[in-house]
Amino acid sequence: MKNKYLTDLKENLDLYDMDNEEKKEILDDYSSLIDDALNRGMSNEEVVSYLGKPNRIIRELTEGCKRVKKSSKDDKIIAISPFITLITYLILGFGFDLWHPGWVVFILIPITAIIVEMGKNHDEHLTTALSPFVSGMVYLYIGVYHNLWHPGWLVLLVIPVLAIFNSRRTMKFIELLTALSPFAALITYIVIGEQGYYHPGWLVFFIVPIVGALNEKKISKLLLTEVFLVVGVVGYLYIYYTFDETWIALIAFIPSFAYGLYSGHIQIEFGNDRKMNIVVIATIVLFLLVGILTTVWSLAWLILLVIPVYSIIRFSSKDTHLIAISPFFSLTIFMILGVAFGLWAYSWMAFLLIPMVAIIKEA
């Protein structure tokens, strides 16, 4: 919601002749306002109605500013780009028999529009907007020509990483590190996993709580959390390599878990929603059962996605169900085709479902 609100607001501000610094200041202020409202426990709808829809507040915000006339030069460049692209494609095809991969030139159309529109405003998310095209092309290249679909898909992580990095202005350094840490962990996990160390390589995910704990203000609590986490990881490795027993090695995490509960960093809450509680417990039990019986943990975890999907269906508005659920479906299809059938070359197409669903729903 926050991103959408700020994007809408920015689009509205861009319609007016206003200093970029001033626009940035307004966006920063609204970013803080939204955070404050959400921290007060307001729902997304309440926040929007509390702050006013961007198209309703824009007149007040831009008082004294003139509406900008869109540069006709920009329009011309955007309008002409499909023709140039088509001509280039035909030349590549007829002239050099490069129909494939010559079709790639068609991505120049959206890229041109993005560069022209966002570049003129020095939009800090320009690279974020370009990243799906660039990383998608790189992914296809290393997949088609080097058959590295897996772990080549890691290049797609550039998209969320850039999005977070380009939003660094609104974050503290530690928050930025915390937000980036899951991606760093995932990349490291896949890299060392491909060397044959998926286990105990998964321990690298502990980097996430280790970095996250740095947000703790109380030094004593911070130090204790870090010590318990590190001791848990080291203890696990020691027991695992000494006794070669995974389940026994997990005992090493009991002190960290206990301290997490004591300090409040880990909270187990069961609300009054009986149905939700049943779904959560049943899903976890099913995940453990399937995992233990089949030992296919790399797919079994997908069962856990039932929990967010169920909560979306239960607690979000009907209109947004399909769009909100589509990433989970895509991820499930991507993983099943990739892990179970080795079809990494095609499984990525599952992610095309996300924009397709959004476009169909919003059209």
Binding site: D36, E60, E63, E175
Partner: protein
């Protein structure tokens, strides 16, 4: 209520609450909307406008979680404006109450 009329009241209220304590935007909105119904929010744009007019100045302060927070502080100019608006409104309200209570008619 007429929007221009309401705008004047909100301006006075914003000057008043910030004169008592430096506040960040959400605090101002929260405080004012407790007593006055604000449909589509106009308080933040108003704070910006009054800042541009030199009635407020801003400074940022770091907070435990999240980006640094921007606080609004009333200026000498702002205090003068508050005083003059306060007088205007009180006199205006007295006149309206006089009419509503029928005091002028009794004389």
């Amino acid at each position: 209520m007429n929007s221009q009329f309401k705008r004047g009241i909100i301006e006075l209220c914003a000057l008043k609450v910030i004169s008592e304590k430096d506040m960040y935007s959400f605090e101002v909105i929260d405080q004012i909307s407790r007593d006055i119904e604000v449909n589509e929010n106009t308080i933040y744009p108003l704070l910006r406008r009054l800042t541009k007019q030199g009635l407020f100045e801003t400074y940022t302060e770091t907070v435990a979680i999240g980006a640094p927070r921007k606080y609004f502080k009333i200026t000498v100019e702002g205090k003068k404006r508050l005083e003059s608006l306060d007088k205007e409104w009180r006199s205006f309200l007295r006149s309206v109450l006089n009419i509503l209570d029928g005091e002028n008619n009794e004389k």
